[in-house]
């Protein structure tokens, strides 16, 4: 009989944790990854003959509360039919008692892995797509609450998908015609004092566990933090700074984008700063507004978050109309030369 090292024993524990799919139509093929709420497996749907991603609540986390949350997550995703959200095919309870849901399998790269390999304009275009997806979710009454680059997948065909809706919150949408509420909304499943999400990207009101103050603009803050990452390639808060936020010991803002990445265009740094304003009322009112602001910058237009001086205005004007300006300048120079030549 062979000897098993501590590492092998620990690994075999994970192997033995594989879900018992019993008489379901799925067959587990391999583990894709695991997180606090459960493990995602590559599985085969034997009826339709296709491969799916199967999220299963881990046995250690198998409490009625977490099972209920997993089912809620599946239902939330199922109601969000959008190209930026992975569709859910099925959900239920496995024969061994664990909750699961099956979703489309996505091949691609996480945004945090991809970002250093692509240009800034490309990163900004990806960011716009994330904002559009989050705006769609908000419009359907869903807050994500754990937005971060690790939860964004860029597929092999360029599709941008927002993943992990495990701590999402359902909002009560305002009546049609009623004024749009920027801030807190009726909590659906989170008690005050509970911190859910990832501290490095989390809005202050969320990090402090003020669940009743978490709203659309809390997701806007997280989007601003993602933009911050895309500009600097580092999270806004790291190590001790993130822990200090968790303890409530620090409400300090992150280092300015330009301090970390001096070559970043100032309007973009200002957009990130406004999205991440400590005061929720000072942020963009919606993910859509944030996306529009980034689009304006990409189109060479002024952004509301940044007041340009005359030189910057001129530079932006030149950059935006470079071709036309060069053509006119060339025409004027040529015309002058011809007139000089003919005048001789």
């Amino acid at each position: 009989m062979r000897w098993l090292s501590d590492r092998t024993v620990a690994h075999l524990r994970r192997v033995a944790e594989w879900p018992d799919l019993g008489d379901t139509k799925y067959r587990v093929l391999e583990e894709l990854g695991s997180g606090g709420m459960g493990t995602v497996y590559l599985a085969e749907d034997r009826v339709l003959g296709r491969r799916v991603a199967l999220k299963v609540v881990g046995p250690g986390a198998a409490s009625p509360e977490i099972a209920a949350r997993t089912l809620r997550e599946a239902r939330i995703i199922a109601r969000l039919e959008h190209p930026g959200i992975v569709p859910v095919h099925d959900a239920g309870t496995l024969p061994d008692g664990r909750m699961f849901y099956a979703m489309k399998r996505v091949d691609g790269r996480r945004l945090d892995e991809l970002a250093p390999r692509v240009s800034l304009p490309e990163r900004l275009r990806l960011f716009q797509r994330v904002c559009e997806t989050v705006a769609f979710a908000h419009a359907h009454g869903v807050l994500h609450r754990d937005l971060k680059p690790e939860n964004v997948m860029v597929g092999s065909f360029g599709e941008v998908l927002v993943l992990d809706w495990g701590v999402a919150k359902l909002l009560e949408l305002p009546e049609a015609g009623a004024p749009r509420d920027r801030g807190p909304t009726t909590p659906a499943a989170t008690a005050a004092g509970t911190v859910m999400g990832t501290l490095a990207y989390m809005a202050p009101e969320q990090a402090e566990g003020l669940a009743d103050r978490v709203g659309v603009v809390s997701d806007v803050y997280a989007l601003g933090a993602i933009l911050y990452f895309l500009l600097t390639l580092r999270p806004p808060f790291e190590g001790e700074a993130a822990l200090a936020r968790a303890r409530g010991a620090s409400a300090a803002p992150p280092l300015m984008v330009n301090e970390r990445a001096p070559s970043t265009p100032r309007p973009l740094a200002a957009i990130a700063a406004r999205a991440m304003a400590a005061d929720p009322a000072s942020r963009y009112a919606s993910a859509e507004e944030l996306a529009t602001e980034v689009a304006r910058h990409l189109d060479g237009e002024p952004v509301s978050a940044y007041r340009e001086n005359a030189r910057e205005k001129a530079a932006r004007f030149f950059a935006r109309y470079r071709t036309a300006i060069l053509l006119i300048a060339t025409y004027l120079v040529m015309r002058s030369l011809i007139l000089i030549f003919l005048g001789r």
Binding site: D6, L12, R13, V15, G22, V28, L29, S34, A62, P64
Partner: protein, 250 residues
């Protein structure tokens, strides 16, 4: 939704109950049944017992061998296991407490003959257990209970791996076992072994690697749960042990 989402699920009916509990068998009036149960318990527990005596009581290998033999033979002669009450805790804990008492009694009776003349020795491979101890990290930061539990898990998994190998061989499925061995048991932690590379090593398509590994993992899990069912006395104890065994890494 069922309120109980723990291992085993509602009623635990999906878990293997193909073999009788060895713990209950060891308490049987029927001698044959009792010996069958006893043999299974010895198979599972002798290494954890030996290592526990060596690592935690600092016994020499000769003393640990004698005490291990003595403990199990005494357990059989005196029906130690008949007094186990599943309502009061796991059999694993009960056995460890019995062992502690046995060692304490042996200490008091030091100098006495260690085994009664004529007592049959159990065929235990102490050399292998000693070799394992040499390869393992010293258990510095574990309590007695944690150490014994860790060795029990190691023994259980080692038996399950052996059973998987035997079953695969019997069913002509050597390749799935070899893939399992290469990928799950022998892989270096720093080695980036992909299914494609494994397919190249074994000369099969990578889809077959996926399927064979999935098969071997499913079988391994089934065997572990079967074994667990075998060495627990009640459904409750089985579910608790399964929860503890399969839930720790989360």
């Amino acid at each position: 939704m069922a309120p109980d989402t723990g291992i085993g699920g509602p009623g635990g009916e999906r878990f293997p109950a193909t073999r009788h509990s060895a713990v209950l068998a060891a308490q049987s009036e029927d001698l044959v049944e009792r010996e069958r149960g006893f043999a299974i318990l010895v198979e599972t527990y002798w290494k954890p017992v030996y290592k526990y005596l060596r690592a935690r009581f600092g016994k020499s290998n000769e003393d640990a061998k004698d005490l291990t033999q003595g403990f199990f033979t005494r357990a059989l002669e005196k029906d130690f296991f008949a007094a186990y009450d599943p309502g009061k805790g796991s059999f694993r804990t009960y056995l460890r407490v019995c062992l502690d008492r046995f060692v304490a009694n042996e200490k008091k009776a030091a100098g006495r003959a260690k085994r009664s003349p004529g007592t049959a020795l159990l065929p235990l491979d102490f050399e292998s257990a000693e070799g394992e101890l040499m390869r393992q990290e010293p258990p510095d930061h574990q309590t007695l209970e944690q150490y014994f539990h860790a060795e029990w898990v190691r023994s259980l998994f080692a038996l399950a791996v052996e059973k998987l190998r035997e079953e695969c061989a019997l069913r002509g499925k050597d390749l799935p076992y070899l893939l399992f061995e290469r990928y799950e048991l022998d892989r270096d932690p720093d080695e980036k072994l992909t299914y494609e590379r494994l397919a190249g090593e074994f000369g099969i398509p990578s889809t077959q690697v996926t399927n064979f590994l999935a098969f071997a993992r499913r079988e391994f899990r089934r065997i572990v749960l079967e074994k667990l069912r075998e060495i627990t006395a009640s459904d409750h104890e089985f579910r608790e042990e399964a929860r503890s065994l399969l839930g720790v890494s989360q």
